[in-house]
């Protein structure tokens, strides 16, 4: 378990976007709640993460992770990791205290809970950003892909538990997956970052890899979520 990252503020604009504001700014009343939530989250969250760097090789049906029995399945992950010789398997979490805070807030003040939930999402993404930066520092002259999550494209979400097993995530960071395929604690992320010796052609994330593209409320409004 690594707990060398602390969050000192949350990206308000990003959180507002999660709440559907697009480029609009929340009014003073909502902004006051956002500030309260930010304080609560920064006080409560216990950011921690674990990662492993593993060699990979291509297979017809996906990507084999060496030293394990696992083949990451599908076309999307194969495309994502094209030209990569190894990957970072990363799991990060804000801890179960965060879930508890959201639950308590739901009982006391639903509006605040909605904001809390969105901003806890922002917090865990910021944790991943920072973890990613730290990991990259260890590799000179290497190139990295963006973070690819389970369930993106055709990478089955069902493979997440096996990847968390490789990280021994329950023991190392206290993260497990329910039978319904959900991470608990809920404000947790598991993802794959490709490492390559050569520059990676701009392979942007975008609606095309997103399973939600057909019913995305951002797209309906002609916006993008930023993914």
């Amino acid at each position: 378990m690594i707990d060398d990252i602390s969050l000192d503020r949350l990206n308000i604009q990003e959180g507002a976007r999660y709440l559907g504001y697009g480029t609009d700014t929340p009014d003073n009343n909502v902004m006051r709640l956002i500030k309260e939530c930010e304080e609560d989250i920064l006080r409560t969250a216990k950011p921690r993460y674990i990662y492993k760097v593993l060699n990979i090789s291509g297979r017809d049906n996906g990507i084999y992770i060496e030293g394990t029995n696992l083949i990451l399945l599908g076309k999307s992950i194969r495309e994502h990791l094209e030209g990569c010789g190894s990957i970072v398997l990363l799991c990060a979490t804000l801890s179960s205290d965060m879930d508890k805070l959201i639950r308590i807030t739901q009982i006391k003040d639903m509006a605040k809970a909605v904001i809390m939930d969105a901003f806890a999402g922002v917090a865990v993404e910021q944790l991943c950003d920072k973890a990613e930066e730290k990991i990259k520092e260890e590799f000179n002259d290497k190139y990295f892909t963006y973070r690819f999550g389970f369930g993106y494209g055709d990478l089955p979400i069902e493979q997440m538990p096996e990847c968390l097993n490789i990280l021994n995530a329950q023991k190392t960071v206290g993260v497990s997956v329910t039978e319904g395929g959900m991470m608990s604690p809920s404000k947790s992320v598991a993802c794959i970052i490709g490492i390559s010796n050569n520059e990676i052609k701009s392979r942007k994330k975008g609606c095309i890899t997103c399973n939600m593209r057909d019913k995305c409320s951002f797209r309906i409004r002609g916006e993008r979520c930023g993914f």
Binding site: N29, R103, M110, V114
Partner: protein, 826 residues
């Protein structure tokens, strides 16, 4: 020599080192199932066992750590096969080393299931129990059982109960703590020690996560809270997260491990990163260690706990009494409608007001008290940190609650009647709880103090015959009503004093009874509270939300010297502006300042005052408060309107609902956003609360437009969306039967039938749980439940909703309301 004999006779016991580390060194792949090696490579497992025994291990752990039904679900081998082979491999090796009737022992090694327990995860306590039971029955040939690397105290409790109820083997328990002295799920060291001792574990301690140096503070703390023999199975220092190598040498490991002996550690071993060399070095050092100077530990304190927090009854503590339907119309209604959030809110409010323990009573004719109690306990312990007092007259209800309680609770209550002691005391013993003992018996409540003390003694003696330690007994000398039996007040106080000083037992009293039938009850109550505390009351059961009561309690603790440096008192009252206004001679009114909910946004407050100055001001102001999400103001102007004689339904239909409609429309048009919609809904909710209380007071029943069942489907634990829908539906006057999250298909069907609802709402967040939604709908149709079904959730589409047989798809909370209007009517 069996484990218990070993524990008694030997100064120390040596365990083995890591299994996983040894297997990885022999080529085990990451993420593989190491327990399968029992079948595929038994010689390798036996070789590892031998290495440890030859290094000095008295006990070896079987290779069965993850051998449970959940983790082996995709294995070609069954739990029984894996565990039986694991145990027999270890036993075979142990027998090879038998000499003079002494041999190493094989401990059935059991780790966590691999899923978090509800409500954080979706694994139920009962299911966890079944997983453990299966392992324990399969491993019955072992010499003892060890539960290790546990992080959730409740999961460990399920494991211990499964062991106690299905095997007679001794039990060792070790949990895994982080450097912040808590486990990942928040279990505190005190709670772990207190709870495991109360559940009769044979030895307890820590394993994994940290090296022996880092574990020293953990071990010190454990030793302060238990007299059980302690176990340490430490890692070889701290791991490098990438290379997975550990930081210390066998010699350093051994030195640090020995440093723990003075704190009562008797059982020494290694976890991740250790191998036979670590065990050998430590074993040699232990041989030379002088154990003769280590003092024994005897803990005789009354401590109860939740998973997170231990409360030592070494000074007065408030037990909050509000979770109890007696005499509370709204509470009764909440129980009938399954409104758990109402109950949870009562809990949170009491804790915020100063309660350190909460009494929980959900007994009401017509509801299933047992299942309600279990549900409430499970939900409560997920949101409040304080220990609970489980309050029921029915032994089965108490036992069911004791099983799922995460920690060591108080049970309320047993009394001096033969049948009560016979029914309750064995349950208290089994679950290691504290118990409230009422000083009454077949002859009723004795008038005189002496006779109540005799009953206390009788219960005490019986309890001790059952093996219940006296520090687990808390005597209730019973408060009688002063208006009816004025002289009884002094008798009660005398009894409290005697129980405390002569019997040396803890005391509890329900305080509020004293003032029944008298005016200014509050004054009588807090005066009596102070008197009783002075005579030796430890645990007043009272309403902490009454500021004068909590105030008297805090002042008492300050004056008596419990509240050192007055810090608690100052913390609570330092920032509060309390004015005492003498209105008439002999009558004082307290005004409490600045702790209520106040909107600090000046602009809005000014606006409100502007509105409030005009004609029909309250109506306009309420409308304005609704549209701008101003809760405190909403409540205020609703009250004003009611006081001015405006009809409740007029407020609802002419102000609240139109304002909600307006904001709903703006939301649909993308002109306001979700937080604002919910804020307005929150204002409406508070206004409805005011109106409801007013109606209940005047005995008019609030009108409900009809009932709707809501559930987040089986397997899905994200319920914020469903909860948003609930708030909005309630705003529009519908009664919501909220079944919570991860709801069984059948539960939805049963609720829909029982409450005769016309509309069932189902929510699912993940593609993986949509199938549960479909199954729930199928079962509703199969049972011909006469209702419409509306579905919603992030991954749903109108087409998919149709495909799985739903009648309606709601894209958001606002649309759910429109659908309810259509189905049930406005």
């Amino acid at each position: 020599m069996d484990f218990r004999e070993l524990l008694n006779r030997r100064k120390y016991i040596v365990l083995d080192g890591a299994m996983g580390t040894m297997l990885q060194a022999r080529g085990l792949k990451l993420g593989g199932i190491p327990e399968e090696l029992n079948m595929t490579n038994p010689d390798m497992i036996k070789e590892i066992h031998r290495l440890y025994i030859e290094a000095g291990s008295d006990i070896i752990y079987t290779n069965t750590f993850g051998g449970n039904g959940y983790k082996l679900a995709h294995s070609v081998y069954s739990v029984e096969e894996i565990i039986k082979s694991g145990v027999s491999l270890a036993k075979e090796v142990c027998l090879e080393y038998e000499k003079d009737d002494i041999r190493p022992l094989a401990a059935l090694d059991i780790g966590p299931i691999g899923q978090l327990l509800e409500p954080t995860g979706s694994l139920s306590f009962e299911k966890a129990y079944e997983y453990y039971k299966e392992q324990i029955i399969a491993g019955q040939d072992a010499d003892l059982i060890v539960f290790e690397t546990m992080t959730d105290l409740l999961e460990l409790k399920a494991a211990i109960l499964a062991a106690r109820e299905n095997s007679g083997l001794p039990i060792m328990c070790t949990m895994t703590f982080e450097q912040n002295l808590r486990t990942f799920t928040g279990t505190s060291i005190e709670s772990m020690a207190v709870t495991l001792e109360s559940l009769n574990a044979d030895a307890i301690g820590v394993n994994c996560s940290l090296g022996p140096k880092e574990l020293l503070p953990v071990v010190k703390r454990i030793s302060e809270y238990t007299s059980l023999p302690l176990i340490v199975k430490a890692n070889a220092g701290l791991p490098d997260p990438v290379t997975n190598t550990y930081s210390i040498t066998p010699e350093e490991f051994s030195d640090y491990m020995l440093d723990m002996a003075p704190y009562g550690v008797k059982i020494f071993g290694g976890c991740c990163g250790t191998d036979q060399q670590f065990i050998k070095t430590m074993s040699k050092a232990l041989k030379k260690y002088d154990f003769s100077n280590i003092a024994g530990r005897q803990k005789k304190e009354t401590i109860i706990c939740s998973q997170l927090k231990a409360v030592n009854i070494n000074e007065p503590r408030i037990i909050g009494e509000r979770i109890n339907p007696t005499g509370k119309k709204k509470f009764k209604e909440a129980l009938i409608n399954n409104d758990i959030d109402y109950i949870l809110n009562q809990a949170i409010e009491q804790v915020e007001a100063g309660a350190e323990i909460l009494d929980v009573n959900v007994g009401l004719p017509g509801i299933n008290e047992k299942s309600m109690m279990v549900r409430v306990i499970k939900e409560l312990q997920a949101v409040v940190d304080v220990p609970l007092q489980i309050d029921s007259t029915i032994p089965e209800v108490l036992e069911a609650a004791l099983r799922v309680y995460n920690g060591k609770p108080i049970v309320n209550s047993v009394n001096g009647e033969e049948k009560s002691m016979e029914a309750i005391l064995p349950v208290i013993k089994k679950y290691g709880a504290c118990v409230v003992c009422l000083t009454l018996d077949e002859g009723g409540i004795p008038k005189k103090a002496d006779d109540r003390i005799k009953i206390a003694e009788k219960i005490m003696n019986r309890a001790m015959e059952y093996g219940i330690p006296r520090e687990n007994l808390i005597i209730d000398c019973l408060t009688l009503t002063a208006s009816a039996e004025q002289d009884g007040v002094e008798e009660t106080l005398q009894a409290v004093e005697a129980v405390k000083n002569k019997l040396k037992l803890k005391t509890v009293l329900g305080v509020s009874n004293i003032s029944f039938g008298l005016p200014n009850r509050e004054l009588i109550n807090h005066t009596f509270l102070t008197m009783a505390l002075e005579r030796g009351l430890d645990l007043p059961i009272m309403n902490p939300n009454v500021t004068s009561m909590t105030g008297a309690f805090r002042a008492f603790k300050l004056l008596k010297g419990y509240d050192r440096d007055s810090s608690e008192f100052i913390q609570n009252y330092g920032a509060v502006n309390i004015k005492t206004i003498v209105t008439k001679p002999g009558e004082a009114v307290q005004i409490k300042g600045n702790k209520g909910e106040v909107n600090t946004d000046k602009k809005y407050i000014e606006n409100i005052h502007e509105y409030a100055s005009g004609k029909d001001s309250s109506r306009e102001a309420l409308r304005h408060a609704m549209e701008n999400g101003l809760k405190a103001e909403g409540t205020k102007y609703t009250k004003e309107l009611l006081e001015a004689g405006v009809d409740s339904m007029e407020i609802v239909n002419e102000i609240l609902i139109p304002a909600l409609d307006k904001i709903g429309t703006l939301f649909e048009q993308g002109k306001v956003y979700l937080p604002q919609l919910i804020l307005s809904a929150g204002v409406a909710q508070n206004s409805f609360e005011v109106i409801k209380s007013n109606m209940l007071k005047s005995d008019t029943k609030p009108v409900s437009k009809g009932k709707i069942v809501l559930a987040t489907v089986k397997g899905d634990i994200h319920d914020i969306g469903k909860n948003i829908v609930k708030v909005l539906l309630e705003n529009y006057g519908y009664t919501v039967i909220d079944l919570g999250k991860d709801v069984d298909y059948q539960t939805v069907v049963d609720a829909a039938i029982e409450h005769k609802v016309k509309l069932v709402g189902l929510s699912a967040l993940m593609t993986t749980t949509l199938v549960s939604m479909e199954e729930t709908i199928k079962l509703l149709r199969k049972n011909n439940v006469d209702c419409k079904i509306v579905v919603g959730g992030a991954v749903l589409t109108p087409e998919y909703a149709k495909q799985i047989g739903a009648d309606f798809y709601a894209k958001d909370a606002k649309e759910s309301v429109d659908i309810a209007k259509k189905v049930i009517g406005e």
